[in-house]
């Protein structure tokens, strides 16, 4: 019984956090997913403004920038994963950009660690973060970097065949549903 009460209290407190953020950034939509998880969706052009609001509302750490390639919709979904030490809460900040010619402003000056995440997102998905001076081959070699290998239209199987020229007995391009 007591447990349940505590959970309810936590959720009410979380609702307050979300409301406070939305009050300062009315363009955003936010909701509480479950205990310690909240979610915001914002338009791409408001990114810098919104992250600044988030930082001031107690979400101090940018844990990761996740890119999801929705090939059919022709969109990249970016999830800025943030953690608040103050509220002990994880926030997903979601936004979408067009898949071809994806551009976003950098958030390096707000969260210096974003430099690494943006370099990575640029390398694997080819998203341009305007204002980040260090975009370029980072983890990959230049040849693989040009392919942006985490995009859904990059086939690693045919690439392996092309580069290493191996004919594996396990290798079968015609199989669409692949079980190792």
């Amino acid at each position: 019984m007591e447990e349940g009460n505590r959970e309810e209290v936590a959720e009410v407190a979380l609702n307050d956090v979300v409301d406070a953020v939305i009050e300062r950034a009315p363009y955003a939509q936010g909701k509480v997913i479950r205990e310690r998880r909240v979610e915001f969706s914002i338009p791409a052009e408001k990114l810098r403004d919104f992250l600044r609001v988030m930082k001031e509302s107690g979400f101090e750490m940018l844990m990761q920038i996740t890119v999801v390639d929705w090939l059919k919709e022709g969109k990249f979904e970016l999830v800025y994963q943030m953690w608040s030490v103050t509220h002990s809460t994880h926030a997903f900040v979601r936004l979408e950009v067009q898949r071809d010619d994806a551009r976003l402003p950098t958030v390096m000056d707000i969260f210096p660690v974003a430099e690494t995440y943006e370099r990575e997102a640029h390398e694997f998905f080819g998203i341009d973060f305007e204002g980040n001076p260090r975009l370029g081959p980072f983890i990959l070699e230049p040849r693989e970097y040009e392919k942006h290998p985490f995009r859904k239209d990059f086939s690693t199987l045919s690439y392996v065949k092309e580069i290493y020229g191996e004919d594996f007995d396990r290798y079968d391009e015609s199989k669409t549903n692949y079980v190792i």
Partner: protein
Amino acid sequence: MVMVSNLEVPRELRKEALKHDMYLKPISEDTYELFFGPQHMATENFSIILKMDGSRVEKAIANPGFLHRGFEKLAEQRPYFTNIALLLRICVPESDVPENIYSMAVDELVGWEVPERAIWIRTVVLEMARLASWMFWIMGFANEIGLYTAGSWAAAYRERFMRLFEELTGGRVYHIYTVPGGVRRDIPGDRWLRQLGDTVEYIKSKLKDFDEILFDNYITFARTEGVGVMDRKFALDHAVTGPNLRAVGVPYDVRKDDPYYLYPELDFEVPILNEGDSLARVLVRRYEMEQDLYILEQLLEMGPPGGPYMVQDKRLKSLPRFKVPAGSAWAHVESTKGDFGAYVVSDGTHKPYRVHIRGPSQSHGITVLEELLRGARLADVPVILKTLDNCPPDIDR
């Protein structure tokens, strides 16, 4: 030809170096470029390019990527359960952590209530992995500052955990043990639990020796005090987590702040120090080791609850075609290196649509390292690397 003015390089060596185009390279009159790693013991296949002014680092550039295998791409092509055998290779010294975060995220997506027994086993495995990883870290760090005896001891004590892991899971380093819905095998028996208790007791008695030879040693203090200092704001801005964050006075521990498994029921403390230098980072790790031993003792006292060790579900009959409902989930655990997280996106098929792993070294190993190295002496570079506990495979993935 520009001469290296402040460094006496024999003429033949310089000639050869220029011919090979690989080694010391004068950039201007006073500075030169130095490749630190990947062929270096401290870096573990990770490279730092240093712009040196004499023996002082003027600028450092981290050069990761030697271990990139494209896990996240490969995970999109394999079924959910097969991915366990792949993703655990992200964190080599602590391979249970990627298993667990991925399993937790899939559990959340499917909506499974993992059985109590599996939860207990997972908690024990995570804590054992933490202790084995601490031992590995002691070994690396002690060898870096020249205290080889402590390093040898730690390597020997780590073997005890390796043996226990081998009996429990069948593997020494890669266990492939935690799977979505539970664990793969049951505990071997009471004898194993007794052995674990003995090991915990033994390591606990040996902590005193480690104090004398390593943590309370004049050499450790001389090598680490005031080296690589960061403050609270810097640490939060750079998303520093784990012991490195607790060394600047922020009491953030995933086990307390976002509790998972049995941690809400366990009694332990989160040690913090305020100095933020390498010494504070070393000592925080020392205190955490003690807490981990205490946690394992409590878990053993609690004993494994009865019941199944795997969730009972008809869909598990054909694993390759096992489908997960569409959605996304984030799960993270506290590893010895910091906050290890996984973001799994499912589109309702039998393969994940996207798996994204957040390794703590992504921030520790790139931006933080580059900042801390600026102005440091060349001899301090390995110390800073080791006290940050940089783990290259989780940067590269």
